[in-house]
């Protein structure tokens, strides 16, 4: 119950931020915002003991019974880890941003977006219902879009925001399709219920399709190959955002999704291979590309891609345990999952700290280009220490937490050799090799961060502001993370026992005694292969770093120029060209053409259906006799409509059109429908006023000189549209296919407490329709307003090209 409400707290506070910001238009607004994640963190942390005992909490708000969509929150070990990361890193990032962002920035907007993201991300990890999960998932994409484009006057920011949005939302929609397929198989949107019944459906064709689509969603979000191209461009966002969304939380949503769906899809060969291969390849590609970056933030972006690939490949390996059940082999897989979650936490600590360090460099010195930095150790001792801790942890060196999870990663990859699994055969030996090579590159770029920035010669002329240490406030958040990096190394089992074990249990609900397979984390394993691999990484890494200038040439070799970014840009350009050429083809600018399209379509489709089905049977026997006054009204309407065609001025035409409308209102009165009559009369009045307003802008009404054939076609279309409507009305009246539903509404007074049935339908029985109609009306109103008020004047600059 409290958990469900906790998700909405960030959204609620976000509503009030603009009002508070009006009162406190300076950086102090950040302190208000900081309270939210801190409280959420404490609240979630209070659940650690109960979750560690293996208890899970579930709470449901009933929502839409008929569609099976309910607001269900589910707290287990897996979601708790993510929840703690979101609120914990969120607190530190907000603390950091208070000092990072200048007071001239639109701080109110920034914190609204950030809170929006926080709420959405909590929603993703705590939702059990797939539809709700999907909505929150897309909300994270949207808030990420808004945050990347925070400095929207920059062209690159807009480009990066659009790119990330297009790629992640494409994946999200694929994922939605996957969820719908799963639901059509199992009949439920609940993840937990799906896990229980999925075994009966694994043979179905839709199962594989659903799996691929869910994977598409996860890979796009977690920047896995070939969708990783959006992450480097997303670095245009302010650094606190990059630290939060694009390294610690949002990009891990894909990993969460894969972990959450492992009990459903985990037994499948394709799932195992897709995740392992994509993950390990992304690991290599990311680390390989990171080395050549000169912008420190871009380097960290590629490094994030690579580390996400590492975690992904481990989770993929771990999924095999679902297929194996309780066996000795399963222990290997369970340990892989354990390592994945451990590295996930570690990555958030060291990468968060490194992003903040780069943010400090950028903020204090005005550049983050490694070619312009150097020799900063003496000027920025604290920043240097944090950078050292973070980088060495990333490189997998002791005594930092990255060493522990990196060793576990090597062990997991090594265990793939000679494993009898999914006809893997000798191919299993490739995995540890790639992992090892990628780790060497990881070592190299970690060294670049430390040595090229803080050692070497200092060139004051290359940086924009003289080198100096950052303000203490800015150093708090990265220092806390650095403390965690070392703390986790010395007390790894604290995290292991209280957070990671329950999470592994949450990942394998079908395995009963999964905790017994996980050994305690130890720093010293003896001289095993994994340790030798690490030693090899260090030796080769040092050599490669030393000789960096001599082998850097391979990055500019011919095959490297063929990259995915150019493909993306080309595809975007081609799509835009294609779309605009199609639009130009039929958007002629003549109202007549549009009316022709609409009515021709109507005539062909509706008339065609009537024709092919032979539904022209018209039965008039049940119809009421037509009274004299009804004849009069009808003849008036006929006269008015024929007169419109021959009207000489626009005013006459509008008034004649009004005659039609009021006559219909009178018809409603005759048929005793006072509600409809009232509505019709008022609508008619308001539209006439609107007509008269638009009237002002229209040119002179001239007699149109159209060629005879065009007139003939116009007449034909008009007459056939009229005939079809008449035929439909008569046929629908004559052939009753279903029982009337109106009986249900006759109890309106008992059911809804109203004597007016029309209104009980509008406000109660079909209130959902009315609500959405109101929303549509509002959107239309805003649309008219923006189209008219915000259009660029002739002399104004185009906002796009700033």
């Amino acid at each position: 119950m409290f958990l469900s409400i906790a998700i909405f707290i960030p959204f609620l506070i976000a509503i009030f931020i603009p009002f508070i910001y009006k009162r406190v238009p300076n950086r102090n607004i950040g302190w208000f915002v900081l309270v939210v994640p801190v409280l959420l963190f404490l609240f979630l942390a209070s659940h650690i003991p109960t979750v560690a005992e293996g208890k899970t909490t579930i709470h449901t708000f009933r929502w839409i019974e008929s569609a099976g969509i309910h607001f269900t929150t589910y707290l287990d070990g897996l979601s708790l880890i993510f929840g703690l990361l979101i609120s914990g890193v969120g607190s530190l990032v907000i603390l950091y941003s208070i000092y990072y962002l200048s007071e001239r920035e639109a701080l109110g907007r920034f914190y609204v977006y950030l809170l929006l993201f926080m709420g959405a991300m909590l929603g993703v990890v705590f939702s059990d219902n797939m539809m709700v999960l999907y909505v929150f998932w897309e909300l994270t994409s949207i808030s990420s879009f808004l945050l990347i484009a925070f400095w929207y006057h920059r062209k690159k920011s807009r480009y990066g925001a659009q790119k990330s949005m297009l790629i992640t939302v494409t994946g999200g929609i694929g994922m939605l399709a996957g969820f719908v397929m799963l639901q059509s198989l199992t009949g439920t949107f609940s993840v937990r219920e799906t896990i229980q019944v999925i075994d009966q459906y694994t043979g179905e064709g839709l199962f594989i399709a659903a799996m691929s689509l869910v994977l598409l969603g996860a890979f796009t979000k977690s920047a896995q190959f070939p969708f990783h191209i959006w992450l480097p461009d997303a670095m245009e966002a302010p650094t606190p955002v990059s630290a939060y969304l694009h390294s610690a939380t949002m990009v891990k949503a894909g990993i969460y999704l894969v972990a959450r769906f492992t009990p459903i899809f985990g037994g499948e060969k394709i799932w195992f291979y897709a995740i392992c291969c994509v993950g390990i390849f992304t690991l290599f590609l990311g680390s390989f590309n990171a080395v050549r970056q000169t912008d420190l933030k871009a380097l960290l972006a590629y490094s994030t891609i690579s580390q996400l690939g590492l975690i992904m490949s481990l989770i993929g390996l771990g999924s095999a345990a679902t297929a194996q059940g309780m066996s000795t082999q399963s222990a290997i897989f369970v340990q892989a999952t354990f390592a994945a979650l451990f590295h996930l936490v570690n990555h958030s600590t060291f990468k968060g700290a490194l992003f903040m360090v780069v943010g400090i460099l950028d903020h204090e010195l005005g550049t983050r280009d490694v070619r312009r930095l150097g020799g900063l150790m003496a000027f920025m001792p604290v920043t240097f220490t944090i950078a050292l801790i973070g980088s060495f942890s990333m490189a997998g060196l002791p005594p930092f937490n990255g060493f522990l999870s990196k060793e576990m990663f090597f062990e997991a990859m090594l265990s793939l050799r000679g494993l009898d699994l999914f006809s893997l055969g000798a191919w299993g030996a490739i995995f540890p090799v790639i992992a090892w090579v990628a780790s060497i590159f990881t070592f190299v770029y970690s060294m670049i961060i430390v040595f090229q920035t803080f050692f070497g010669e200092h060139h004051p002329e290359r940086i924009e502001r003289p080198a100096h240490e950052a303000k203490p406030g800015m150093l708090i958040a990265p220092s806390v993370l650095a403390t965690f990096i070392i703390g986790i190394f010395f007390f790894p089992n604290l995290i292991g026992d209280y957070l990671l074990r329950p999470a592994v249990k949450g990942l394998y609900p079908t395995l009963s005694n999964v905790e017994s397979m996980i050994p305690a984390i130890t720093v010293w394993h003896g001289f095993n292969t994994a340790l030798w691999m690490t030693i090899g990484v260090i030796i080769l890494g040092v050599v490669l770093y030393w000789r960096l200038h001599s082998w850097k040439g391979i990055y500019t070799a011919a095959p490297m120029r063929l990259n995915l970014d150019t493909m993306y840009n080309g595809l975007l350009l081609k799509t835009e060209e294609g779309a605009s050429s199609i639009t130009r083809f039929y958007m002629t600018g003549y109202l007549r053409d549009y009316v022709v399209y609409i009515f021709t379509f109507f005539i062909l489709i509706v008339g065609g259906v009537f024709f092919t089905n032979g539904s022209f049977s018209i039965d008039l026997s049940n119809d009421a006799p037509i009274a004299a006054n009804e004849y009069i009204i009808i003849f008036v309407m006929m006269g008015a409509s024929i007169a419109i065609i021959f009207a000489k001025s626009r005013k006459t035409a509008i008034i004649l059109n009004g005659v039609l409308g009021y006559a219909i209102a009178i018809l409603f009165v005759v048929f005793r429908a006072p509600d409809l009559a009232l509505t019709q009369i008022v609508v008619e009045t308001v539209t006439t006023a609107l007509f008269l307003l638009c009237f002002y802008f229209l040119p002179e009404w001239k007699m149109e000189k159209l060629p005879k054939p065009t007139k003939l076609v116009n007449g034909l279309i008009a007459v056939s549209a009229g005939v079809i409507v008449t035929v439909i009305a008569l046929a629908a009246q004559g052939n009753k296919l279903f029982e009337s539903v109106s009986v249900y509404f006759e109890n309106a007074y008992d059911l809804a407490g109203g004597k007016n049935i029309v209104n009980t339908i509008l406000g109660d029985f079909r209130a959902f329709d009315t609500m959405l109609e109101v929303v549509v009306l509002f959107i239309a109103g805003i649309g008219v307003f923006t189209l008219i008020k915000l259009k660029a004047g002739k002399e104004e600059r185009d906002v796009e090209d700033q």
């Binding site: 929502w63 509600d675 008022v682 308001v686 802008f697 209104n759 209130a767 109101v774 009306l777 307003f785």
Partner: protein, 140 residues
């Protein structure tokens, strides 16, 4: 468009109040008699449209200093929010309830939560209609 029609302006001053009263009456009677949020809102907005037609926009805005976009937004929030309220009591989205109350002046009166929903509809209609008409007429 500057019109200066004394008779029309004098009549409008009185008629607007009659229309507004009628709109509120339609809104309130909607539960048991013809009327309701949508019609009530439309009648209210037609009163505003009449004012804008007879006087110029500046004069009316001095008299009714509302931002009609905000009114529309409040309306949508009210309509959607009245639906979520029921979820807090464990019912489904948009479930409405009603009950008899004895009020000091009106005696036994039936009050329903659907009124909130209908009020949202009415406010949205007023806000949107006036916004549309104003934006088009100001675009000269």
């Amino acid at each position: 468009m500057k019109i200066n029609d004394v008779i029309l302006q004098t009549v409008t001053k009185i008629v607007v109040f009659i229309i507004l009263t009628f709109g509120v009456e339609l809104f309130l009677s909607g539960h048991n008699n013809p009327g309701g949020g949508f019609i009530g809102g439309l009648v209210l907005s037609s009163a505003f449209v009449l004012l804008y037609l007879v006087y110029d926009i500046e004069t009316v805005q001095k008299g009714i200093p509302f931002d009609f976009k905000k009114i529309a937004a409040i309306g949508v929030l009210l309509a959607v929010g009245s639906g979520t309220g029921s979820m807090l009591f464990g019912s489904e989205f948009l479930t409405h309830t009603f009950s008899e109350f004895t009020l000091p002046v009106f005696g036994a009166t039936e009050l329903g939560t659907v009124v909130l929903f209908e009020a949202g509809v009415a406010l949205t209609v007023v806000g949107v209609v006036v916004t549309i008409i104003l934006s088009i007429s100001e675009d000269v």
